[in-house]
Symmetry: C2
């Protein structure tokens, strides 16, 4: 089955990359966008027998590799 | 209003970063995950008067800065 993991910075964690994008948008003449924060998205194909074990596998992947849980949140969606 | 832009690689475009993640997951003992593809997500705060102009602003941001439309697709969600 297909799954999507979204990793975003926790509230309060500085995001210089987002700030740079905000400034770049303004310098390109695109106004009205504020508070940009960048995250990561992973589209995965999971080959476990059921949704519960897929959820457990994906949680392990997030905790061990995909997200730094000190400063990042992750969300798992199984399609 | 809040918006989320998701930028993903088009089908058929090689994703060495995704392949590296796949290999890393296997070496960590997490099995059952295949076909990892990494993308980017942007959470933005839009200060335009209505949803139609927000959509137009975000489309311009994607086309001009956030996505390389030769190899990437983008999706805009307005919350």
């Amino acid at each position: 089955m297909k799954a999507r993991i979204t990793v975003t910075l926790k509230t309060g964690v500085l995001d210089p990359q987002g700030k740079a994008i905000e400034a770049a948008l303004k310098s390109l003449g695109i106004n009205g966008i504020e508070g940009v924060r960048q995250g990561k998205v992973f589209d995965l194909e999971v080959s476990t027998p059921d949704a519960a074990s897929a959820q457990a596998t994906l949680k392990a992947a997030c905790e061990k590799l995909l997200a730094n849980t000190v400063v990042e949140n992750y969300a798992i969606e199984i399609a």
